[in-house]
């Protein structure tokens, strides 16, 4: 009962913030006014803030910005020892530096390094934390461009004769970073310090403990990074133990605060969508589909972790890999939130979850992280599912499929199909190929089906840009670092390319007025179809792999 109250309290806070935050983001993404700081940045960077970009230009700027970020972050890790706050740290070795750079730039935050020892405080604040902000901003920018494409009402072609513009990437990036993420992150960081998270420049301090042994305790600018880590659904912990570490997540209420920050923006974005397309009911049906999937998954995980009996469970092992201050249920709540968004932060270690509980968490990521998903990426993923649902319904009832008045013809559905297939291809080909590579099987910690789950989980986590680990896998090998980096990059940028191409096509269409034959997409029935569609696509794609890993383990 007490445990359910904790969950209810977080959901109530999110419900209260849904409308105001959704409206604020809609204003932010449509306003023509810039702040003084923003005008200074546009002048320094030399961009014309009112110049709209067609989809190809928008995509090009997303890709170049991300590429520059990867190079800069790799470089920073390579020279970190000579920079301030270096404290004698050596450079991160190249394959791991590339893995980490791609990981943070793609909003994945897979970590093959150990936070306490491998990276310096300057790398954390100037490299990793900055990417926590801007990779989150890129995700929100892409969904903003997609919504503008869906909402475009212009009848004629733009002056240049090309597709109508989707907004300006540089403006979206700057505004979202400075006026959405920064203020909320600052409030979150102060609250975390009040709870006991650290924010200092100390190096590791060795002390003599109460019983006379030695212990070395690290310092760092943790609170400021922790807050954007969860708010931006990034998930890369300052320390190895991530949100289980007492300096990152010191108390029971900071744990719930982190869950709330993880879900805050993804759950409010459907409201923004509804406002921007001029029909709030469309936002409700998207949110409804997300909520159904979220609550079902939460119930399954909590049930698996509290009620299932296994050998270790009989011995009382439901606390293995968990912190006492959070307990089993709040840990399962965090685990559900982190895997259904693309966060990947952990406050408890999923490898020690029951076979079925761990399987549900993996299934959450395989769903494509759409309930509610990562910041921005969750909503565009769900909107792709909505378009797919419209198409399937159109086939069943024999009408031309339309979404928000835009016709979904063969070219559009080809882009949708491409989007849906990229990530499964990365996951299944990556897992299959890796099992054939010498050395990978040796990197697996647990034998049998759980071992396959470790590798499958790693590629699922990387391709879906989640970043959580079934951490049994010893992933710091050159092959796994680079293979997972490739999975992260493909799993992030190829779907973004499909989404922006789709946005460009839809922007060029004149919306058709609704007729009596138009399928309404704002009703609960349609939300139900979206849920079914998401489950069927995921189920058909992954069932064989799941059967060999977590299902085999849960049934044996």
């Amino acid at each position: 009962m007490k445990d359910l109250l904790q969950i209810a309290a977080v959901l109530a806070v999110l419900a209260a913030l849904h409308r105001p935050l959704g409206a604020y983001m809609a204003r932010l993404l449509t306003s023509r006014r810039d702040t003084t700081v923003e005008r200074l940045i546009y002048r320094a960077v030399r961009v014309a803030p009112r110049a709209g970009q067609p989809w190809r230009v928008y995509l090009r700027d997303v890709l170049t910005f991300s590429a520059v970020s990867i190079v800069a972050l790799t470089l920073l890790q390579s020279i970190q020892g000579w920079l301030p706050l270096g404290r004698g740290a050596g450079p991160v070795h190249l394959d791991q530096a590339i893995n980490t750079a791609v990981s943070f730039t793609t909003n994945t935050n897979w970590q093959s390094y150990s936070g306490e020892t491998a990276v310096t405080q300057l790398t954390q604040m100037l490299g990793l934390a900055v990417q926590n902000f801007v990779s989150a901003a890129v995700g929100i920018a892409v969904v903003a461009a997609f919504i503008r494409g869906l909402a475009a009402r212009r009848t004629g072609r733009s002056a240049s004769g090309g597709a109508p513009p989707l907004g300006n990437f540089w403006v979206d990036l700057t505004r979202i970073s400075l006026r959405l993420l920064l203020p909320i992150a600052a409030v979150g960081a102060v609250l975390l310090i009040l709870g006991g998270a650290i924010q200092n420049f100390h190096g590791p301090q060795t002390i003599t403990t109460l019983d006379g042994s030695q212990q070395t305790i690290p310092g760092g600018l943790v609170a400021s990074q922790e807050s954007i880590k969860v708010l931006g659904t990034n998930g890369g912990g300052y320390f190895n133990a991530n949100s289980a570490h007492p300096f990152e997540n010191p108390a029971e209420w900071t744990n719930l605060l982190q869950v709330a920050l993880i879900l805050l923006i993804p759950s409010a974005l459907p409201r923004t969508f509804g406002i921007m397309v001029g029909d709030r009911r469309q936002g409700w049906s998207v949110l409804g589909a997300m909520a159904v999937l979220f609550l079902a998954s939460l119930a399954a995980t909590v049930w698996a972790e509290t009620a299932l009996t296994g050998d270790a469970k009989l011995a009382g092992a439901s606390l293995e890999g968990r912190e006492l201050r959070f307990g089993t249920v709040a840990s399962a709540f965090f685990a559900t939130a982190t895997t259904l968004t693309s966060t990947g932060a952990v406050d408890s270690f999923h490898s020690s979850y029951s076979g079925l509980g761990g399987g549900v968490l993996m299934f959450n990521m395989l769903l494509g992280e759409i309930a509610p998903g990562g910041v921005g990426s969750g909503l565009y993923g769900m909107l792709v599912i909505a378009i797919l649902s419209v198409f399937i319904c159109g086939l069943m009832i024999g009408r031309t499929p339309e979404y928000l008045g835009k016709k979904i013809g063969p070219p559009e559905i080809r882009l949708v199909a491409g989007y849906v297939l990229v990530v499964p291809a990365c996951v299944l080909l990556g897992t299959g190929a890796s099992l054939l590579v010498p050395g990978v099987r040796e990197a697996i910690l647990n034998p049998g089906p759980h071992g396959l789950s470790e590798v499958l989980y790693a590629f699922t986590s990387a391709s879906n840009n989640n970043g959580s680990a079934f951490a049994g896998l010893g992933a710091d090998t050159p092959y796994l670092n680079l293979a997972l980096a490739a999975a992260m990059a493909l799993g992030r940028f190829v779907p973004i390319a499909f989404v922006l191409a789709l946005a460009g096509r839809l922007a060029g269409q004149t919306p058709a007025p609704p007729t009596s034959g138009t399928l309404p997409t704002h009703r609960p029935l349609f939300a139900g179809v979206m849920v079914g569609c998401a489950l069927i696509v995921t189920g058909l794609t992954y069932l064989p792999a799941l059967a060999l890993g977590p299902l085999a383990e849960g049934l044996s």
């Binding site: 904790q6 970073s177 992150a185 109460l210 007492p246 050998d311 293995e320 952990v346």
Partner: protein
């Protein structure tokens, strides 16, 4: 093609400048501003240091410590680093819930906790049998504290009632009645036990 290449090159240069500008604000100004705010509560921001009667820092109230002395309370098992409680190598065992290795570890911990405290093995609570997520969990359950109370009282030559009072003083109750679990901070509890002789 030529214009596309030029556009891409210009975009790369714009990206570099934009990243630099945003890094100044988000990577320097923001963490420094939060650091300044943290100075209002330096104890928390500096890691909640724990000092003994002589004023020496003996740990952090938020970071669990290894405890081997019979006159002190034992913390939960730890998988941080090779020998546990390595605060520079936080982490969990990652052992699967159904693994034989975890089963063996639990059996061994149950036996040793029961023997050390002269208790019935069936009474050893789950937190005494399992490694935490961070390996640095500063808390134990009230049940595990009670299990050890007799042993600690005997080793310190004090009444059980005095130890019980210390346990009660170091027990944290769920905030607002429903946030979190009832638990005992074993680091501050052990500091209080040491202070009995000060």
């Amino acid at each position: 093609m030529h214009t596309a290449l030029r556009g891409t090159l210009r975009s790369l240069w714009t990206s570099a400048k934009a990243l630099a500008a945003l890094s100044l604000i988000l990577g320097l100004a923001y963490p420094l501003a939060i650091w300044c705010i943290g100075r209002l509560d330096p104890a928390a921001a500096d890691g909640s240091p724990l000092t003994d009667a002589a004023g020496r820092t003996v740990g952090s109230t938020r970071i669990g410590q290894p405890m081997h002395s019979p006159e002190l309370f034992s913390p939960r098992p730890s998988a941080a680093g090779d020998d546990g409680w390595d605060a520079m190598s936080s982490g969990a065992s990652n052992l699967a819930n159904d693994s034989a290795e975890l089963r063996e570890q639990i059996a061994a911990r149950r036996a040793s906790a029961a023997q050390a405290n002269g208790a019935d093995p069936a009474q050893v609570p789950p937190d005494a049998l399992t490694a935490s997520g961070s390996g640095l969990d500063p808390d134990i359950s009230p049940a595990y504290a009670r299990l050890q109370a007799d042993r600690v009282a005997r080793a310190n030559h004090v009444d059980r009632a005095r130890i019980d009072a210390l346990i009660a003083a170091n027990t944290q109750h769920p905030a607002l009645g429903f946030l979190g679990e009832k638990r005992v901070n074993v680091v501050t509890l052990n500091a209080a036990v040491r202070a009995l002789h000060a």
